[in-house]
């Protein structure tokens, strides 16, 4: 049967902001779905609150709503757009939960909207633990034994029956609180009694712990004719007990015989049928007991997932695209495999390489959080590497993580690490465990011993041991002969050793290793990812490097060249690698735009990236895709083969920018802003000269190479100062410092972060407003794309601060001044392409804080707000077009009729014990956008999207530092006028009362004074609707920590700045005075165009 004709308009739900566990893989899946469905003539209405996505580009849907993903807003969209169907299986858990709510509250029935892919009952059956377990038992599947208990006695009985160890999971508590593993009856009694107490229905699930078992995932697809295929199998290196998102994983599965694998496959097919996922992709997880082969079913996701994105990139089989096609009625055999063009999608990809995915963590951002991995996901990104062997893929993955490792290298000398530390690091899963496996092997520990400590399958350990042993051979050979023979060098490359690793072994420079092996003809070759292990001719240009004999990229490039009369010019775009805090989807967005724009202009585009979650690594985006780590060596290997006419380094964030100088020195043509200019902006002294030369102001500053210098600078410019190591991204290790003592300890830490680079010290301008500018310069002319006013004061990292475009409190003359300054700065720095400027505004004085001649995090936001595709224009400017040719509306962003607010989304709930106060170090994982005709409404929407909706009624807690006490009176008055009850600490309450504002004084904790309410209890009882707490200075900052931590636990919005409080008041007023309105981006833009034309 071909596509359904009973539906014409489909509402597609996105996944909202990037959070841990839900990243840009859903932009990839949603973008694919939009493309696939529009190709078939469906009208697409898209809802997503995340502006940094490709899917929310206005050309990807007919109507694009950047609105909060809440049932109320989606109902408004449904009411306005009247879609025939809703597709919720491509937007992660967010979209799935949203669709469930819309079903439950009757919205879908009311507007006769059909659910595509999986319907309500299917989702319920898959998501509800008990229903799922029952279904599994019904079809004869094995599941971990479990029982519910309501008393400690029942728990004891259950544990006795099941056998230790057991996991205790209290029912209906937040984020698994109160749960834990029990190995003995004593532990069980303790955990169970706590769990029963914490559970609101006094119930715990006692489940057999299968931590340590082997963990597998199968990616399954089914069509409405009940055809089922397994797209990919994945085996986890880290066993059960560590979240699969935090595990190193391998595709395909390695250690199951065909008999065992086929049993798993049969089980997966039975499960998808029983659960009833009608069409689309699902992910099913299994655990296998290593000693017996017993296989149990763990869980199922009845939707496209992070693993599906990985499976798609690992095999070349576009799961999301096909899921969308299946959802509208196609069957698998009616869809063509794009890669082979001859064969249908109804097959199972077979691969002839090994794929390794490694998670990227950011514990360094949250020093208070423990670096221990468990069942709750903590990684913020991932990298994928492809090699012909596991050894090669593993080493490529580790260097692709960009965490300072050049492979499975020797960051530490195993002699220096005490055995008990190694033992602990093996026993207790953590972010660097894989390196400790190496140290243990170097210490001579046996595979068996390491297996006992880690439960990492001996197959993986043996391969790591081969790497270690071979490295020892290399070292020994070099020590003895002062050279490495060609055969060994080649083998080293086949084992995935990077040039940098070999350089360390041979005591030479990395570039000399490269030179040496090129002389010997040991060069990387590129193989194709083709879904079929070369059985059919493949047309899709998706490559990875390896050390083997035949180079298919060379063959394909030659063939392409033969087909055309005049070969196209080639531009290579370097992506951003794994997501991390400070470098995420925004940069991928820019890279994708560059590729689109240059393709349109007749260039051949070449994408290089290692992040499987992204749109840029969809093989559909560029003319050729190289799935490779973004290191100098790996990029140069591609350059050798492709010989691009230009390379773009300014769109992928800091990763490619850090490579710029070395690539430039190696003769690679970098297009756009020159490497010299990039360096100029980074060089504080030279940059200061430029600022002075232009007559602009900068906070007094200096760069220190020693402790003495640092103290001298700080005393010269006066505290507080903003200190940071140079050459870091996302404000890593940046701090506001108030005294000498803190400065000294900071310098000591900073040395570790950025060895060999000076520490930069700026005067911190207190109570200044921060302003961000995104602009494009063609070397002569500058176009200001957007000026954003930060809602939080300067001093909070721009990536964490909410901002508004156009500015609401800055007057026109200052705006004009900023525009003029931007043009002069851009010209002085000879920027060709994008630039981002951060300014501080105090009174009427403008200070230049930073200029970055590259794409910034706000480029997608500004583009969405204004409708001007900045990244696309910048890409064209970089290849030589001038700005005048684009006919851009002058002074546009300030005259917008709508207001856009960007709000950041923070991962604190994942890291217990971490304080939520923002500072100069960036901590957010994602962002949302609120658009409306007034600031108040836009801000209120942004807060809803960030899952911290402003209250309309209830009790608000106020506690502010002394400096803010005067200002808080006005805020409090307005809140009282809107019928909120106020409570505050005694100090603040006194000030309020003396100013005639009624407020109850409360203690923070229960201090036995029963006449006073205490905040903690109120929070626990859900009787606090909003917290406004501005912490004072560094020392007393910790006072309110536990309060803020509790706010996170109870999901109470918590505002920590006065400006934030003002914005909240505006937002609350807007929501109380009139109902929310919605408008699609296309709608906003057409109003805007009308206005422009009228002028």
């Amino acid at each position: 049967m071909p596509k359904r004709t009973d539906i014409k308009k489909i509402l597609l739900l996105g996944s909202g902001p990037i959070i841990i566990g839900q990243a840009c893989e859903f932009d990839y899946s949603g973008t694919q779905a939009c493309k696939a469905l529009r190709e078939d003539g469906y009208e697409i209405v898209l809802a997503n609150s995340n502006p940094a996505t490709i899917m929310t580009d206005p050309e990807f849907a007919d109507q694009t709503y950047i609105e909060p993903l809440t049932p109320e807003f989606i109902e408004m969209i449904i009411e306005k757009e009247r879609p025939d169907a809703i597709l919720s299986t491509l937007g992660g858990q967010t979209a799935l939960n949203l669709a469930m709510k819309l079903y439950e509250n009757g919205t879908l029935a009311k507007y006769k909207v059909k659910m595509l892919g999986a319907d309500y009952n299917v989702i319920k059956k898959a998501e509800d633990r008990e229903l799922f377990k029952k279904s599994m038992i019904k079809i004869g599947m094995d599941v971990p034994e479990s029982a519910f208990a309501h008393t400690v006695e029942e728990a004891r009985a259950a544990a006795e029956k099941i056998g230790f160890p057991v996991i205790i999971r209290p029912s209906f508590t937040l984020g698994g609180t109160g749960g834990g593993i029990a190995n003995t009856m004593e532990e069980l009694e303790r955990t169970a009694s706590l769990g029963i107490e914490l559970s609101i229905i006094n119930e715990v699930l006692v489940e057999k712990s299968i931590a340590g078992w082997k963990e597998y995932e199968l990616e399954v697809m089914r069509d409405h004719k009940d055809n089922v295929v397994i797209v990919c199998s994945i085996e986890n290196l880290d066993p059960m007990g560590i979240h699969t998102g935090d595990s190193i994983t391998v595709a395909p599965q390695q250690t199951l015989t065909d008999k065992e694998y086929q049993n798993m496959r049969d089980a997966a097919i039975k499960i998808i049928r029983e659960i009833g996922v009608e069409t689309g992709g699902s992910n099913i997880q299994f655990a296998v007991e290593p000693k017996t082969g017993r296989m149990v079913v763990i869980e199922m996701n009845p939707r496209v997932s992070r693993s599906s994105a990985l499976a798609s990139k690992a095999t070349g089989f576009p799961i999301a695209k096909f899921a969308a096609k299946l959802a509208v009625g196609y069957s698998l055999d009616e869809i063509q495999n794009d890669i082979t063009k001859e064969t249908p999608a109804s097959f199972e990809p077979t691969i002839d390489y090994c794929v390794v995915k490694a998670p990227r963590f950011t514990f360094e951002k949250f020093p208070e959080a423990k670096d221990i991995l468990g069942v709750q996901m903590k990684s913020v990104g991932e990298t994928m590497a492809i090699g012909r062997t596991f050894k090669e893929a593993l080493q490529k993955a580790l260097r692709g993580l960009e965490i300072g490792h050049t492979g499975l290298d020797n960051k530490l000398d195993h002699h220096d690490i005490p055995d008990d530390r190694v033992r602990r690091k093996l026993e207790e899963p953590n972010a660097s465990r894989i390196f400790y496996v190496k140290y243990a092997l170097q210490k001579g520990w046996s595979i068996e011993k390491i297996y006992q400590l880690t439960n990492i399958d001996p197959w993986f350990l043996a391969h790591i041991e081969e790497i270690v042993k071979f490295e020892e051979q290399l070292m020994e050979t070099f020590r003895r002969d002062r050279t490495i023979p060609d055969g060994m060098l080649r083998k080293a490359k086949e084992y995935g050793f990077s040039d940098a690793q070999l350089a360390a072994i041979m005591f030479i420079k990395e570039t000399d290793v490269r030179k040496l092996r090129k002389e010997k003809g040991i060069t990387a070759c590129f193989k194709l990812v083709d879904t079929c292990a070369a059985e059919f001719e493949a047309y899709t240009p998706y490559f990875y490097s390896t050390y083997d004999q035949e180079d298919e990229a060379v063959l394909q490039i030659r063939k392409t060249a033969q087909k055309v009369k005049r070969p196209k010019k080639k531009i290579m775009i370097l992506g951003g690698g794994p997501n991390r805090i400070g470098q995420g989807i925004e940069f991928d967005y820019c890279c994708v735009h560059a590729s689109f724009a240059l393709k349109e202009s007749g260039y051949e585009t070449i994408m290089v990236n290692s992040n499987p979650e992204t749109v840029s690594t969809d093989y559909d985006i560029s003319d050729r895709l190289y799935f490779e780590p973004l290191t100098f060596e790996d990029v140069m290997n591609i350059v050798d083969v492709e010989k691009p006419d230009g390379v773009i380094v300014q769109f992928g964030g800091q990763t490619p920018l850090n490579l710029a100088r070395r690539l430039h020195e190696a003769g690679v043509p970098i297009v756009g802003t020159s490497v010299e200019s990039i360096d100029l902006a980074e060089d504080r002294e030279k940059f200061s000269e430029i600022i002075k030369g232009l007559g602009l102001a900068q906070p007094p500053n200096g760069s220190a190479r020693s402790t003495e210098e640092a103290v001298a600078i700080a005393q010269r410019i006066g505290y507080p100062v903003l200190a940071r190591p140079s050459y870091v991204l996302g404000g890593r290790a940046m701090r506001i410092i108030y005294d000498d003592k803190t400065l000294l300890s900071f310098i000591a830490e900073a040395k570790e972060v950025s060895e060999g680079h000076p520490v930069l010290i700026d005067k911190f301008i207190e109570d200044a407003m921060e302003i961000d500018v995104d602009a494009i310069c063609d070397g002569q002319q500058t176009y200001v794309g957007g000026i954003m006013e930060h809602i939080e004061n300067a001093g909070i990292h721009s990536g964490d601060s909410a901002c508004v475009l156009p500015p609401t409190t800055v007057n026109e003359s200052i705006i004009n001044q900023i525009r003029e300054d931007t043009g002069r700065l851009a010209k002085a720095l000879e920027v060709v392409g994008l630039l981002n400027i951060q300014l501080a505004l105090k009174g009427r004085k403008i200070y230049v804080l930073e200029v970055n001649p590259r794409a910034s995090r706000t480029v997608p936001f500004v583009s969405k707000a204004t409708g001007i595709p900045l990244a696309k224009i910048a890409a064209q400017v970089m290849i030589g077009n001038n700005l005048a040719s684009f006919n851009l509306p002058e002074d546009f962003s300030a005259k917008l009729k709508h207001v856009s607010v960007k709000e950041s989304v923070l991962p604190f709930s994942r890291f217990s014990g971490v304080d939520i106060v923002l500072g100069p170090e960036m901590k957010s994982t994602g962002e949302v956008m609120g658009i409306a005709s007034t600031f108040g409404e836009a801000y209120a929407k942004s807060q809803m999207s960030a899952n911290q909706a402003l209250p309309r009624k209830g009790r608000i807690f106020l506690s502010v530092k002394d400096d803010d006490k005067r200002a808080i009176v006005f805020i409090a008055k307005r809140l009282r006028d809107m019928n909120f009850t106020l409570v505050s600490t005694r100090g603040t309450a006194k000030v309020l009362k003396s100013n005639g504002v009624e407020a109850d004084a409360v203690d923070r904790y229960d201090q036995g004074r029963h006449h006073l309410l205490n905040l903690m209890t109120l929070m626990q009882k859900n009787e606090i609707a909003l917290i406004v707490n501005t912490p004072s200075g560094e020392s007393s900052q910790y006072d309110m920590r536990s309060i803020r931590a509790a706010a996170i636990l109870h999901n109470i919005p918590c505002i920590t700045t006065l400006q934030g409080a003002w914005a909240a008041v505006n937002g609350i007023e807007a929501t109380k005075s009139k109902a929310f309105t919605i408008q699609s981006l296309q709608g906003y833009y057409s109003i805007q165009r009308g206005m422009l034309n009228a002028v």
């Binding site: 009940d226 055809n227 599965q253 496959r265 017996t292 249908p344 090994c354």
Partner: protein, 368 residues
Amino acid sequence: MKDAILYLEDGASFKGHALTVPGESAGEVVFNTAMSGYQEILTDPSYAGQIVVMTYPLIGNYGVNNEDVESNKIHVKGFVVKEFCRHHSNYRATQSLVDYLNENKILAIEGVDTRALTRHLRVKGVMRGIISTQDFDLKSLAEKMKKVPSMEGADLVKDVTTAQKYVWPRNGGPEPKFKVAAIDCGIKFNILRILTKMGCEVHVFPAKATVQEIMAVKPDGLFLSNGPGDPAAVTYVIETVKQFFGKMPIFGICLGHQILGLAFGGGTFKLKFGHHGANHPIKDLLNEKIGITSQNHGFCVSIKGLKPDEVEMIDINLNDQTLAGIRHKKFPIFSVQHHPEASPGPHDAQYLFKHFIDMMEKQQTAAS
């Protein structure tokens, strides 16, 4: 590790090294795209006379065991992989793959750019090849190549068929309801396991068994097995099979299917590089269902030769639209080109054994 070479009849050669016994071995070079199931592949008699190249680069991961065999010996003439696993891991493993190959004196080489080799075979078609650890002289290898027999016209069934008739042991299986006569052209054990498990007593006959010998056990159905070589060369089985038309249900797999096609008066032809893998989609034209199947064949029944009033197509290969299954319009006879017994591969087509059982059941009911 000794250096080794794989020399192909078109003059191309690929370097690798041998982990196993030194020597020289020749055969038709085919590639298999299954990612697991190497032990089953090695022991599948259909690979007699062939050098098998595995496209999946990591081979030997889970070792070998005593259960996952498809016959009593390794049949491949040589084995070519990218990397052999030195340290297998699986609870059922009894031995490493390399030891197993060594013990069976199979010449196996690794370090070959198996993807380049596969691409070569795909573009140029399957061809003969010689693996050597002794002779690296291309001229001398070319001379030797002349003596390597071609697969076309080769009767390899005689080399792999059972010498004597036997009955597959029940091994605690159900009480047999049917007696099946299986003509062994190189039968895979899993076919016997499945039939026995489904209530058949399977009598396995040498390929040259006569009609009388077979009829003597009074079978309820006839099974035609898979096997190596050119189906057209196995004239004796083709003739035997014809005698059973209309007498009892017949089910053929792979070579058995090709033999049936020839017995129906059709023709067979050699595919460019065959189908060897575990991911081939076929469509069952009777129920419109798609199954992912295990395949292993170099020859194919031509659709054109079959009489449309007698024989109809029931399965089609969706990758290249070749014929994948036929049935007789009047008699309870059907056959498939793919491998419903899997091993290695998916179990999607296992329901076909049930069809066969149903046919025998129906016949029994009709007779009583």
